[in-house]
């Protein structure tokens, strides 16, 4: 195992822990995205590029986009945005 892989593993653990400690849901999703990205790099290091492509497309792309839409639907993103909140109150 090279030093690069050890650094990636450390990043992976940091990401995984900080997702569960993040209070802001939006931040949690962004950290989850970076988790998937680091994981896809690790898959390349482990010589499985097939999995790396899938991980990058599904884990970092599609899943987080679906999470974003869900957050928007339950108005979890609007609350943290002061401008949108004001607009909502004015209506």
């Amino acid at each position: 195992m090279t030093a690069f892989q050890i650094i990636l593993m450390g990043l992976l653990i940091i990401c995984a822990v900080s997702v569960s400690f993040s209070k802001n849901l939006l931040n949690a999703i962004l950290i989850y995205m970076s988790f998937s990205l680091v994981m896809s790099m690790l898959w390349i290091c482990l010589e499985s590029p097939d999995l790396a492509i899938t991980e990058a497309a599904v884990g970092a792309g599609i899943t987080s986009v679906l999470f974003f839409v869900t957050l928007k639907k339950i108005h979890a993103i609007d609350a943290s945005d002061p401008e949108a909140k004001e607009e909502k109150e004015n209506e």
Binding site: S48, P49, D50, I53, A57, V58, L66, V69, D78
Partner: protein, 319 residues
């Protein structure tokens, strides 16, 4: 004691206040913040007794164990049976573990002859340079068929949960556009350049599935991501020109049934030792490796449509 500052001056500095706070000599909130003094804890015996009586009364009414002997017996039986079931489960699992091959023996799954055969004869038998593609779409194509159906069933489940009727759908579209009434110009320009590249890359991954890393699933996911970006930039009106529920229905139907028929044919010929008419081609060429390329295309279509359908249904409950 040689102090540069006098005692009065020193008391005003931050360091003095900090160390005083650190040693706990003064609470910084006292005098600055309006506070309510904390009440002393007093156990309320009467309330506790009342609550206990209420609890007992409820339990007596619901489970009348004093009068109903059968209920009492049933409770006992329930408890003993759950303990016995747990013990049985533990014993069963332990016995199963004891039947697993021991560490280091020849019969371990690691020493299975299947993986050696995949590596040695994979290129010859499937015609795919990429061994992984040969495995998942030729040797173990049945698993991949199940995966495609899982995706299809997942979409149907989301459809049942999130689908709206016509009027609700219009309302959802209006509320979807409330904060962004106009299309974003920056996003549109970026999407104009990026979407074709993303979709062509996805098609490349699908078509090269048997030659290099990739395949139907990852390529379909990339194409789906491109479609989602296009939808975000240009809105539902543009995408509805080429992608509606009907498109989804027919694409999934044709892809999945093609997959079923193609694999049924190869299973049938393989099981009966018949010669398959599908040519293998030269390994390395784009039109080679028999059924893997069309199967990759079918899986890619299903995955791309599924991802787009997920996104559209999450956003406005239909597409």
């Amino acid at each position: 004691m040689s102090r540069k500052k006098t005692a009065e001056e020193y008391e005003k500095t931050f360091a003095f206040r900090f160390f005083r706070w650190l040693s706990g000599e003064k609470d910084p909130y006292i005098g600055n913040v309006e506070m309510q003094p904390q009440k002393k804890y007093e156990p309320d015996h009467e309330a506790a007794l009342r609550r206990e009586k209420e609890h007992d009364a409820i339990m007596d009414k619901v489970y009348d164990t004093g009068h109903n002997r059968w209920l009492h017996l049933f409770h006992r039986l329930y408890q003993t049976t759950s303990v016995l079931f747990c013990l049985f489960l533990i014993a069963l699992l332990l016995v199963t573990v004891s039947y697993l091959p021991a560490n280091g023996t020849v019969t371990r799954p690691v020493n299975n002859e299947v993986s050696a055969r995949y590596i040695e004869k994979g290129l010859e038998e499937t015609g795919a340079v990429n061994i992984v593609a040969g495995m998942i779409l030729d040797y173990r194509a049945f698993d991949t068929l199940g995966e495609s159906h899982v995706l299809f069933v997942a979409t149907i489940t989301v459809l049942i949960l999130l689908r709206l009727n016509k009027t609700e759908k219009d309302e959802a579209e209006v509320s979807d556009r409330r904060f962004e009434p106009k299309n974003d110009a920056i996003l549109q320009v970026v999407a104009t350049f990026l979407v074709p590249v993303i979709i062509i890359f996805g098609i490349y991954i699908i078509l090269n599935g048997h030659l290099g890393p990739g395949g139907g699933f990852s390529g379909g996911a990339v194409i789906g991501a491109g479609l989602v970006l296009y939808l975000n930039a240009f809105g539902f009106k543009k995408t509805e020109r080429f992608f509606t529920e009907k498109t989804y229905k027919w694409v999934c139907f044709f892809s999945l049934s093609f997959y079923c028929l193609a694999k049924s044919y190869s299973f049938y010929t393989g099981a009966n030792h018949l010669h398959s008419v599908i040519p293998k081609g030269t390994p390395g060429a784009i039109l080679s490796s028999g059924l893997i390329l069309p199967l990759n295309i079918a899986v890619g279509l299903v995955v791309a449509c599924t991802i787009y359908a997920f996104y559209a249904m999450f956003r406005k409950g239909g597409f």
